[in-house]
């Protein structure tokens, strides 16, 4: 993996998402909550229920389940050109939101519904991204 190319692909840090990215560096998966109390990922400009603009970030439990996954064989992104085939997972957080991610050290046999927990991979001095691993036993 060419980490420099990957870093260039990341969402830029903005006022709207700074807490999220500070969280990943601190080892916390933070979710955005507006005044309706509905968690959202990724960040969004307004609360989808009330359309209010206020929000706060709260750490998620880090627990999730594996909804599904694919193994990408096609070279689409230059940063991932040397990675094919690579796994992409779609997981549901305990708090409700779904997110695209990947699994670290996946077991040979994966199954939809497997319990997962978040881990963080530091890909540069100031950026880390959330990934998940299968909870064993």
């Amino acid at each position: 993996m060419d980490n420099q190319k990957l870093v260039e692909m990341l969402p830029p840090v903005t006022d709207a998402n700074r807490d999220f990215w500070e969280g990943t560096l601190a080892g916390e998966l933070r979710l955005q909550y507006g005044d309706s109390g509905t968690p959202r990922y990724p960040e969004s400009p307004v609360d989808p229920v009330t359309l209010g603009e206020d929000f706060a970030w709260r750490p998620a439990s880090g627990r999730a389940t594996l909804w599904s996954w694919i193994v990408m064989h096609q070279k689409y992104f230059p940063a991932f050109a040397d990675e094919v085939p690579y796994l992409v997972a779609f997981v549901q957080l305990e708090e409700g939101p779904y997110l695209m991610t990947t699994l670290v050290d996946p077991p040979e046999h994966l199954e939809c519904g497997m319990p997962l927990e978040v881990v963080f991979e530091k890909i540069s001095e100031d950026r880390a991204i959330p990934k998940f691993k299968v909870v064993s036993g």
Binding site: P42, I70, M72, Y86
Partner: protein, 378 residues
């Protein structure tokens, strides 16, 4: 507001997809492709361009489109973006415009030069948060999102590997009888299973064929249609329901949206799923056919993968599906080609792939905007 008028599709035009595919170094203009299709559709309808008073373009912009096409001052004009879900939406809008008297003759014009511009439908992202957050894991392309759904579907319903083969094989078998199809050779189950993965669980033959091409449809009132040369194809009903989220992956395979659209399109038309003589199902990737069959009550939930076996969906089977070859055999025209085929089947113009006594056809697109129309020969 006048009484709601009945609406018919009276003209269809399409480019020669196979011929366009043959030259991979071409630099074609999407507007020229749309124009070629429009010319054919007008000839097909026996209408003059100056009779068109509504113009809906897709994938090509309306302003430049109207200028290029020489329709500079229609009563109604608009453009729909270039996603496949919009082919059904365009027809839905055209029907509404004609029903309510806002336009009498609506041309829907689609032009796509995806092959010329080497469109990949993956590897790019917009500045929307979601696409960037997905891209940082290498997640991209509609096929991968559909692959996510299909793996989950297979898990939920105990589906074995290879269950998509009958759909891919059926498309190719039909495409072999379609003179404008890109892929004119049939495939076997062994070829299907032996093909490379693109986004596992989806293989090469589960994928649509990116191509250059244009398609145009002309709609008008049923009353006016009766005075034209060809058999009118009445739009007995059309319905839609959005099911949008951050992701193309729908965690219920668009089922609840499909069920809602199904209920309304069957009720409004007076036809049920068993009345269809053929189905034209939007199939950017083969799993969508399964989701569509279940969402629209053709197959029991969780069983469409069994339902499509045994040649049930063949041209001469119980319920012919994608008789022109679909997106994996004919050409990826984002649902537009499926509309043309539905009309040709009803008119009895489908040549060697003609379904016997075809009078009622259904278009289905299960996607973030799920649409369906029921078309009936008059």
């Amino acid at each position: 507001m006048p009484e709601r008028r009945q609406v018919a599709i009276v003209g269809v035009g399409q480019t020669d997809f196979g011929a366009l595919y043959a030259n991979k170094d071409a630099h074609r203009d999407a507007y020229a492709l749309g124009a070629q299709a429009l010319r054919l559709a007008l000839d097909d309808a026996g209408l003059r361009k100056d009779e068109v008073d509504g113009l809906l373009t897709a994938r090509i912009h309306y302003e430049h489109g109207a200028h290029v096409l020489g329709i500079p001052s229609p009563r109604v004009i608009n453009a729909l973006e270039g996603s496949g879900r919009m082919s059904g939406v365009a027809v839905q809008h055209a029907v509404s415009l004609i029903e309510t008297g806002q336009a009498d003759v609506v041309a829907c014009v689609y032009g796509n030069n995806g092959r010329s511009v080497k469109m990949t439908y993956g590897g790019a992202y917009t500045d929307s948060p979601t696409t960037r957050y997905d891209a940082m894991y290498g997640m991209t392309s509609p096929g991968a999102y559909v692959g996510m759904m299909y793996r989950r579907y297979a898990h939920d319903y105990g589906v074995p590997d290879g269950a998509l083969a009958p759909i891919a094989i059926n498309n190719r078998r039909n495409a072999a009888l379609n003179p404008v199809a890109v892929m004119r050779e049939e495939i076997t189950e062994e070829q299907y299973l032996g093909a490379r993965y693109i986004a596992d669980p989806l293989r090469l033959y589960d994928y649509c064929i990116i191509n250059d091409g244009g398609v145009a449809l002309i709609l008008t009132t049923l009353e006016k249609a009766r005075d034209l040369a060809k058999r009118p194809v009445r739009v007995a009903a059309t319905a839609a329901r959005a099911s949008v989220s951050n992701y193309y992956t729908s965690t219920d395979f668009f089922h609840s949206a499909s069920q809602d659209v199904a209920r309304r399109v069957y009720t409004a038309s007076g036809y049920g799923p068993q009345d269809m003589d053929c189905l034209q199902i939007y199939d950017n990737f083969t799993p969508t056919v399964l989701f569509s069959l279940e969402g629209f009550d053709h197959a029991p939930r969780g069983e469409a993968w069994k339902w499509v076996t045994g040649d049930r969906i063949a041209r001469d089977g119980e319920m012919p599906v994608n008789t022109a070859g679909g997106h994996t055999g004919e050409s990826y025209m984002q649902g537009w080609g499926h509309h043309v085929e539905a009309v040709r089947q009803i008119r009895g113009e489908a040549g060697p792939r003609q379904v016997t006594d075809c009078n009622v056809a259904q278009y289905i697109c299960a996607s973030p905007i799920t649409t369906s129309h029921i078309l009936v020969g008059e």
